[in-house]
């Protein structure tokens, strides 16, 4: 009975996802049969989608590069470093931050963060302009892909921190105490008894964070001054798939709408590939999981 309900729930997910996928594919199909000249940009779907796929990956990469180490460190701080009383409150605050609506992060990024970053960007362009990533002239408004990446990092940080903290707290106490009793320092104990145990969980948390970073629409739409694909992170330019959908979908009609849904399908596939890689990594370390 109980196992039947559990199986049923799993089957329901399969059905829902099948329906969503069907809906997406059917809606996206006209894009692929359309005359390439009719697609936005006039050179076919691939030429249209390629720059925004790269833009999406750039923004998500920046976000994860910043958020993963800091998120794991914050989780470690709340689970193993901070005094117990303080830790509980901090964990609470971190959970709350995950709840701030993305439009608020967007408004904060566009009105506050972007203007704060103008000066550092100008400095970067001046001193490191020879690196293509920091090629000048820096944006006059600070609304660049790097700013968008930072805002995304701030958004996914609570997700990563909150989930990894729970994993760290579940690490077996006995192993930790044994490590300490053998004379390990705190860091050695964490490295030997906590991190290996939590590896799968950390990757899972990062993937959830990545899911949000890839699919985030409103914050990017508000923060990024979009444009064609460029290498420089500190000039206005680049665009992400989700933001493109959010910006153009309301006024889209006919083929343009199918195009945007096809773009959504591509986003879907990207997340899929990333997740498959993550699963593969987790499965390689399965021996640390409790219920196998």
């Amino acid at each position: 009975m109980f196992s039947g309900a559990a199986l049923g729930a799993g089957a329901l997910i399969v059905a829902v996802l099948f329906a969503v996928a069907l809906f997406l594919v059917v809606q996206a199909l006209p894009t692929f049969s359309a005359n390439p000249a009719d697609i936005t940009g006039g050179r076919g779907f691939f030429d249209y989608i390629f720059p925004i796929v790269v833009g999406t990956l750039i923004a998500a990469t920046i976000a994860l590069l910043i958020a993963t180490p800091i998120g794991v460190a914050v989780a470690l701080f709340t689970s193993h470093y901070a005094p117990r009383r303080l830790a509980r409150g901090l964990g609470y605050v971190v959970d709350l931050l995950a709840a701030i609506p993305s439009v608020v992060y967007g408004a904060w990024g566009a009105s506050y963060l972007a203007s704060q970053l103008k000066v550092p960007y100008a400095w970067l362009a001046e001193n490191f302009g020879w690196i293509p990533l920091f090629a000048g002239p820096a944006s006059g408004t600070g609304k660049t892909i790097l700013t968008a990446g930072i805002v995304l990092a701030v958004m996914v940080l609570p997700i990563i921190a909150s989930l990894t903290r729970e994993i760290f707290l579940q690490a077996p106490m006995l192993h930790q105490e044994a490590a300490l009793a053998l004379g390990a320092t705190r860091w050695e104990m964490i490295r030997m008894a906590v991190l290996p145990f939590a590896r799968g969980g950390i990757i899972s948390a990062v993937m959830l964070g990545l899911g949000r970073a890839l699919g985030e629409t409103m914050a990017v739409a508000l923060v990024l001054s979009s444009g064609p694909l460029i290498a420089s992170l500190i000039r206005s330019g680049n665009q992400t798939i989700a933001a493109e959908i959010a910006l153009d979908f309301p006024e889209a009609f006919g083929l343009r709408m199918h195009e945007l849904i096809a773009a959504g399908l591509v986003l879907f596939l990207i997340t899929l590939v990333v997740n498959m890689v993550a699963r593969w990594i987790i499965n390689r370390h399965k021996e640390f999981s409790g219920a196998n």
């Binding site: 109980f2 196992s3 559990a6 199986l7 729930a9 799993g10 997910i13 399969v14 829902v16 996802l17 329906a19 969503v20 809906f23 997406l24 180490p69 998120g71 460190a73 914050v74 701080f77 470093y81 959970d95 709350l96 931050l97 995950a98 709840a99 701030i100 609506p101 439009v103 608020v104 408004a107 904060w108 506050y112 963060l113 701030v154 989930l163 729970e166 994993i167 707290l169 579940q170 320092t185 050695e188 145990f197 899972s204 899911g211 629409t217 798939i241 959010a246 849904i261 959504g264 986003l267 879907f268 990207i270 899929l272 997740n275 498959m276 993550a278 699963r279 999981s289 409790g290 219920a291």
Partner: protein, 368 residues
């Protein structure tokens, strides 16, 4: 140096340790040195704090490496990095919360904000209140009710489905092919752009109930599509780390599998599951785009999720910011938007509190 180290190693038990007051001395001196350095290149409070922290960490690690050895130094370095990362993380987060707090409080304290809707509030009303300096009329009640009801229904759909799926994956499937398919599909689901989930739900209900069906329940279904994968993934992770010893102990006592799951496995993982559910709620409660296409946009109170359009806090915030009620006097709308954002955060805070309370009621006593 090399001889010094070998000498230390020989007397392992009595080897050098830094006196207890060392960190304080280093802290004081790095603050002073940082101030001196800043004075040379132009003083700036923020830069001073950063420089002091960096100096402190470096001096601490180096002194430890010299006196206490490599292992202790590594430990200190890790501690510095963890604490440093935490402080760095706090900066933007505090900044966001502060922005919402400062901008949101005036609106939230306006009389009637929590108990009235936006019915009949037009640009002319806003223009008048700006011109005469009277309090801003119009409130968020309809959106608050809508948000609570829609999220409640989404939770009622997602948590059972998500949790049961996670239980199936961890406890029953034994890694069979179907479970691999589910895991794979759940991963796919995390990648659904939120607007697609909204369009899917709208299309689905249009097919069943006729075109243009927009109700709170349609929105709840759309949000569930976004919420289920988060619930499954976080619960799965939490169930997995419940030690097998517990399950085996229960089986050894002759407890049935389903009772073991309900009475042993879930209570052990409940704190993590509750945290995951809160995160899932947090993930969807701020969604704007899927709500607009599924629940419509109302300015009046609607308590029925099965009929009529419904407002919600995110759509309220979004429309108030992007299309102010009075384009030429956007301040009242901005004030309402920030107040609604603050209210949304408070709402999630209360939900979080509730979830933790539940978790504590169920959770067994643990080492922590």
């Amino acid at each position: 140096m090399a001889t010094l180290m070998t000498e230390r190693k020989r007397s392992a038990l009595t080897r050098g340790r830094l006196p207890k007051y060392t960190p304080y001395v280093i802290a004081a001196s790095s603050v002073v040195v940082a101030a001196a350095l800043m004075a040379l290149i132009g003083f700036h409070v923020f830069g001073w704090a950063v420089l002091s922290a960096v100096l402190f960490a470096t001096a601490n690690v180096v002194s430890s490496a010299l006196v206490e050895g490599r292992r202790k130094a590594t430990d200190k370095l890790a501690t510095s990095l963890v604490v440093g990362a935490f402080l760095v993380a706090l900066l933007p987060l505090v900044s966001v919360i502060w922005t919402v707090w400062v901008n949101g409080v005036p609106g939230l304290l306006t009389p009637g904000f929590l108990s009235t809707s936006m019915n009949g509030v037009t640009g002319a009303v806003d223009n008048a209140s700006v011109k005469d300096g009277t309090p801003v009329l119009g409130g968020v009640y309809h959106a608050l009710v809508g948000s609570i009801l829609i999220t409640l229904w989404a939770t009622l759909i997602s948590v059972p489905v998500g949790l049961l799926t996670a239980i199936y994956l961890v406890e029953y499937s034994a890694g069979n092919r179907f479970s691999k398919v589910i895991t794979f599909l759940v991963d796919v689901m995390t990648g659904i752009p939120s607007i697609v989930a909204g369009l899917f739900a709208a299309a689905f209900f249009a097919m069943i109930l006729g075109p243009g069906t927009k109700t709170g329940f349609v929105a709840a279904v759309a949000l569930s599509v976004l919420m289920i994968p988060v619930v499954v993934r976080s619960s799965e992770e939490m169930l997995k780390i419940v030690p097998n010893e517990l399950r085996e102990a229960a089986y050894a006592l002759g407890v049935r599998k389903w009772r073991t799951i309900l009475k042993v496995v879930i209570p052990t993982a409940i704190s993590g599951i509750a945290s995951g559910v809160t995160l899932a709620i947090a993930r969807v409660i701020g969604e704007t785009a899927p709500l607009l296409v599924t629940a419509g946009f109302a300015t009046t109170i609607n308590m029925n999720v099965f009929a009529g359009w419904m407002s919600s806090l995110p759509t309220f915030i979004y429309t108030q910011i992007m299309t102010p009620t009075s384009p030429s006097n956007a301040d009242p709308s901005t004030q309402r938007a920030w107040a609604a954002a603050l209210l949304l955060i408070i709402l999630v805070m209360l939900l979080n509190l509730g979830a933790r309370l539940v978790a504590r009621l169920f959770a067994p006593k643990t080492g922590r």
